[in-house]
Amino acid sequence: MSAATHSLPAVRFENVSRYFGDVRAVDNVSLEIHDGEFFSMLGPSGSGKTTCLRLIAGFEQPTQGSIFLHGTRVNDLPPYERDVNTVFQDYALFPHMTVEENVGYGLMIRKVPKAERQRRVQETLELVRLPQMAKRKPSQLSGGQRQRIALARALVNRPRVLLLDEPLGALDLKLRQEMQIELKEIQKRVGITFVFVTHDQDEALTMSDRIAVFNAGRIEQIGTPAEVYEHPQSTFVASFVGTSNLVPSDMARKLTGQNETFSIRPEKIRMVEPGAPVQDGWAAVEGTVREVVYLGMLTRYLVQVDGGSELTVVRQNLDETSMDVLSAQGKRVQLTWQRAFDRVLESPQ
């Protein structure tokens, strides 16, 4: 790949909108996806992330704006003329073809010679670790295996951009976590740009180089997992990515003297004896433990702050048994955190 094409973004949206009647599924979105990165589109259902993916694939046409793939405007290009491939949410494997025929479909359509086709199909099946399944029908595979075959069917064409539409949604938790790591490894190995749509924030944080957080057809924030998690730019991002305590302005004024809403992550709050001395640069409030939720590895405490709202605190069960943590219910506590960790949000509600 020449340096010139390398510098071009793999995907670029320029003020793209997609309306369905009165519904603005995608509302004036601009973004750039770098060549070779693992890019996630994260958001709740109906936030426009899947529509964005379909716009890249060519299944939808933008109502307004332009879409570029490696610098070429593709608005009017049908799916079969775009150098992208998709892994579908329901896998969409062809039931009347064997695994081998499914994976080789794109190569056959492009008239790749049979010998090379077979070699590449076998190679790709090995990449997804299912080389022995070539002769089976999709109906004879488990959900996890179908998922891998769908991935192989897209990867075998060596597209420049691979689109994945919630590909792990139908798998159980253990399998999903395995596949997350495996997908990331495959992406590093093949060096293809991955555009990954998910509503699962853990998944997005685990795999992505960068994340775009979608809400109501718009992008709320684009950044690395750490940026999105540690520096949420809006109330929505703070609450959708991980859990956050959103401290409303009236309580914020009492705490910090400033009238701005801010967020603080539950794991950043310390729970200590009431009246304990407060260090410089730390915020402190007192309250009563209203509820204790024992989660095995962690315990979540809901603390009713005096004269204010509720804060959630998460603590690792390091030196305590379940009996110890559950007995905290109803106790008076002091909550403190480093002021450096709270985040003033740009768009207070």
């Binding site: 694939a57 299944f59 799916p79 329901d90 969409a92 494997l93 479909y105 069917r153």
Partner: protein
């Protein structure tokens, strides 16, 4: 169960309906037997029983002198069946059935495709009603309607005359074997009427099969580089094929057995159904009628076997 009812309603015993429900819930096999008893009896006695009686009859023979059925095993009737004249009837009927089936499939596919892929929800309902609407009225009325439409003085004849196409119509009618003095008194008439009356039976299963092909599968094909025509031949058609075969079983077998349409429209060449009717009615030759009835059954078995070999049932 008792403990639950005791806690929810400690003073009274559970009601009768509840006890009956519980009984059946606990004895699923008995429930199944009770549910299936009547339909199984119907299938076993009335349905298969009559078929068996039919098969038996075909192995009896008619005594030419007395006109009585001789109830002894013999292959005489089948010998009679395999005469030149009777085989002509079989070939004619099978050829008509095949032609009707192909015409129905060709007409039904685009309609079904539009219904399944492009029509809105209300459009689908409208299409569905339009397709099944002819089935609401009497078959006989519709067949006679075709007789008038296709008659020499009918609307089609008028159309050909009005546009100066009479020579075309004459040429079409001059074709040997299938031609005749007018459309309604030729094989064309029989063919048109058959295609018309059986078309819904082809559209519905084809539509159902097409409806079951998820949109994502077509998108996947396009995504992998296939142009619409490739997608059609490699994905849509193979997946819809079982539906077309299901429809063809209807159109083929219904044409094989019908005796009314060739009686009303056509050049009075006999079809299997008509032979069965005359043999068991006026001629009183029930064994030969039975033997004739076995023919479409055998043909259907062969048909299903070939369809199975073609992989028609693989994508089910």
């Amino acid at each position: 169960m008792t403990t639950i009812s005791a806690t929810t309603n400690p003073t009274t015993r559970p009601s009768l309906i509840r006890r009956v429900s519980t009984f059946f819930h606990r004895h699923p096999t008995l429930t199944l037997v009770l549910l299936l008893a009547v339909p199984l009896l119907w299938l076993g006695v009335v349905y298969l029983g009559s078929l068996l009686a039919l098969l038996l009859q075909s192995f009896f023979r008619l005594d030419d002198f007395t006109g009585q059925v001789v109830r002894e095993f013999s292959l005489d009737t089948y010998g009679q069946l395999f005469t030149r004249a009777n085989m002509d009837i079989v070939v004619r009927t099978v050829a008509m059935s095949a032609a009707v089936t192909m015409a129905c499939a060709l007409l039904a596919f685009p309609i079904s495709f539009y219904m399944a892929r492009y029509a809105s929800a209300t459009g689908k309902v409208a299409f569905y009603i339009a397709v099944t609407l002819p089935l609401w009225s009497s078959y006989l009325v519709r067949v006679y309607a075709w007789k008038l439409i296709l008659a020499k003085e009918g609307v089609i004849g008028w159309f050909f005359q009005a546009f100066g196409l009479q020579p075309v119509l004459d040429a079409v009618l001059a074709v040997p074997v299938i031609g005749g003095p007018s459309l309604s008194v030729s094989m064309y008439g029989t063919f048109f009427a058959f295609v018309y009356v059986w078309l819904p039976y082809m559209i519905i299963p084809t539509y159902t099969a097409l409806e079951r092909v998820p949109r994502s599968m077509l998108e996947a094909s396009a995504d992998l580089g296939a142009r619409p025509l490739d997608t059609f031949f490699r994905v849509i058609l193979p997946l819809a094929f079982p539906g077309v075969v299901a429809g063809s079983i209807f159109t083929f077998s219904l044409t094989l057995g019908d005796y009314i349409i060739p009686g009303v429209l056509g050049n009075s060449a006999f079809f299997i159904g008509q032979v069965v009717l005359t043999q068991q009615g006026t001629a009183g030759n029930i064994p030969l009628a039975a033997a004739f009835t076995v023919v479409p059954m055998v043909i259907m078995f062969i048909y299903l076997f070939i369809a199975g070999r073609l992989g028609a049932f693989e994508a089910l």
